[in-house]
Amino acid sequence: MRIPTAVWPLLVIGLVTSITSLAIQNPVRDRERPPQPALAADLRKNSVHALDGQLERLWTAHQLVPAPAANELTVLRRLSLALFGTAPSLEEIRRFEADQGPDRLERWTAAMLDDPRFADYFAERLARAFVGVEAGQFILYRRDRFTHWLSEQLRTGRRYDDIVRELIASDGVWTDRAQVNFITAAYANDELDENALAGRTVRAFLGQRLDCAQCHDHPFSHWKQHDFEGLAACFGQTRLSLVGIHDDPGRTYSIEDRMTLEPRAVSPGVPFGPEWFPTEGLPRQRLAAWVTHPENRRFERAIANRVWALMFGRPFLTDRAVDDLPDPDDAADSVEARILDELGRDFRAHDCDLRRLVQVIAASRAFRLDSRHLELPDDAVDDAECRWAIFPLVRLRPEQVIGSMLQASSIRTVDQNSHLVTRTLRFFRERDFVEDFGDPGENELSDRTGTIPQALLRMNGELSKELTDANPLNSTSRIAGAAATPAECVDVCFLVCLSRRATPAEHAELDALIPKRPGQPRHVAVADLMWALFNAPEFSWNH
């Protein structure tokens, strides 16, 4: 048979496309690795029991009966949202349901922490606290390198106190030693802003807001302007040159006195715990040692509170901003804050291991409680929520909403093993959607209400249409084509969107919408159901 000449170029294009698409697939396909052996026993005995005990005492003291335990699939959804920023895929749900071994959730948590998706996702969340979301001065600051570096540290299980010391005290060029972007992020108007760095350091690593002490003594805490100046002076010798960021020991840091308007020299100092502040060394190294000093409880308290917030969507101390914590030496410190300290101490005692901290929180009773509590009167709900006797309803962040939408439109897990095209599309779609939805930036852990433009975007946006309308690759057409009965069709739609099956009441209303036989009309009906699920409160709220 003779192939027409015109077809040859097409064949060549087809061949090249298939070869390149094979080549850009990730060769490392370790998804089928069996879940790890249980490290659960040690974790439970040493850390989780202690945390649970304290929570239970808190509940008893406030006469709170905790909510019943949540369904394990719901807990898997919470884990996936917290660690990957998406709801679980149908593929993962099926594997999870097939796994009937002991300590299923503990093993799955451990496996998720080993997934590069966790390192990348958590690195971005932490980067928001460490350097914010601004693009900054491109020539001096590379945020992408910074988050990549953080991701590497998380992936390799680096100690958190080491990470922080590197951020504060590293020298070098920001493209080569990505951690110094922590310093260069504070370049504004061609100057290093020592005040911004001082404020950032205590906020991000110690959960203290000293920024207002930059201009005046703190109105309701004991910070003095003098304290802030000393901290800023720790960055006073930091210079930028051809070799990048480094300290110039010959330089004296002086500021304009606000009263006399004369220059006044300021030497490095710290607002509390002077005994933890080494007398020797370069100022940034001394500051790094002080911030991470084993007796500086604010350090542990801050990270425990932040990781808790990333797991639940709201900080452990619910009435305060995640980086505005009470003084641990205050005698009037609350019982709740003490629990946070215990969690922090356990973190320090176990090598400042961030992944272990995640595991402890994920295995705690608080994380496993239901978000419904039928015996609880309405007026007791707030009390129960802020003492973690019920899982709170927390609005998902924009990246979690879009992450879940993208995942729901695919049957298979969208991860580093996905095709490059899928991953690239995911990257750009996520970026655009978050932009349209409104990125809360570094304040992402504070409560926010949903807005009308967001509702419009979810209902009528281009992306929603693209993801719900049937096409040969997305879940709408595959569910419509594969499900045997309307009821199964509805259940699978629920699983990919909400990580649960439909209730009898829902089946009663929704099954009738789905045509009995797979085919074109079913595509339309499934697309409509997917649309409804995308816009349901349950989709946009962690529960």
Partner: protein, 426 residues
Amino acid sequence: MEPLTRPAAVDRRSLLRAAAALGVSFLVPGLSARAAAKRGPERPKSLITLWMQGGPSQLETWDPHPGTTIGGPTKAIRTTLRDVEIADGFPAVAEQLHHLSVIRSLVSKEGDHERGTYHLLTGYRPDPTVVHPSLGAILAHALPDAGVEIPMHVSLAGGAGFALPRGGYLGDDFDAFRIADPGQNLRNLRARVGEPRQARRQAALEAVSREFRTGREARAAATLHEATLDKALAMMSSEQLRAFDLDGEPADLRERYGASRFGRGCLMARRLVEQGVRAVQVVLDGFDTHAENFTGHRTQAAILDPALAALVRDLVEHELLDSTVLLCIGEFGRTPRINPLDGRDHWPSGFSCLLGGGGLASGLLIGATDPTGASKDPSDPVSVADLYATILSALQVDYQQEIITPIGRPIALCEGRPIERLLAAP
């Protein structure tokens, strides 16, 4: 005798009926007897900001210095304001300048796009612990109008990334609503499917929502998810959406604004303000002329000149200028020095803006920059905060009011002081 308004009302109704029959009901102004119906100074006030993204050169816009070393090839032309000359790229604006005032001495300390934009949108310098609301958000928050079903704070023809005016500590509700390409489509405001399918979708949504509410009615209601969704659905069926539709405007008027995205944005801004929208931003990007400054600004002027002039004229003709503050501004100006690439770099001291309408004095010239470029500081400097205190005062907003922010710190809406000359009745 019947009051004169009666027959008019009857006429309107029959007109509407006729118009509906002909399928041209969009030609009839909205029924709302509120903002939309009122004219002149009694109307509730609004703000239109023409946002010159990238930092326009004062020397190529409202503060030319022809014949000097810093002036470059830009020439100056006379305007309807005595003794005020502007760059020669703006002949149409020159004809309308008596409706506005010129400020040539704006000063800021932020010379980076992102930080400068933050400063010029909010009146505050960036602060890592709190996000300040933009001027438009402050107005939408302080001056609500229950009769307006469409967003009260809108950004047209751009407003992406950090240039989008945000609600800051007032809440995401006050973020500007974006229309990327005015007049081309009503992005996200129309359902994607026909009526029967949309009804089926909403019925299915209700079934799933009901299940979520069960056993936690109060908490589910507190999420406001469904309330927000209902408001969004109401907006989708609002008559007032017609404000986003430019097809009903006469062809010659549309031509006057220019066939650009920005020009369409300016026309839509007038329609939105007419409908009672409180704050509109219209973005013109492309002023960041580090190279080829003069060619770049000629391109920009060809878009800005017709649109701005048409907007002023149109606001006057619709009796809307007395109730609408018009501000034309960017995040900073550009250096007097011309760099080797024939460009100008960022310059946050001594840059210009146009301001007028809303009952503000017109025809004023404030400040002057050094024609030799030797002195950085302009005479009669105006801070961004002072400019915004002036605008807030013109809109009768208590700019000194302190809001308790989410971090527990009280912050004044604006920390400046109004420029009295601008507030004095003309």
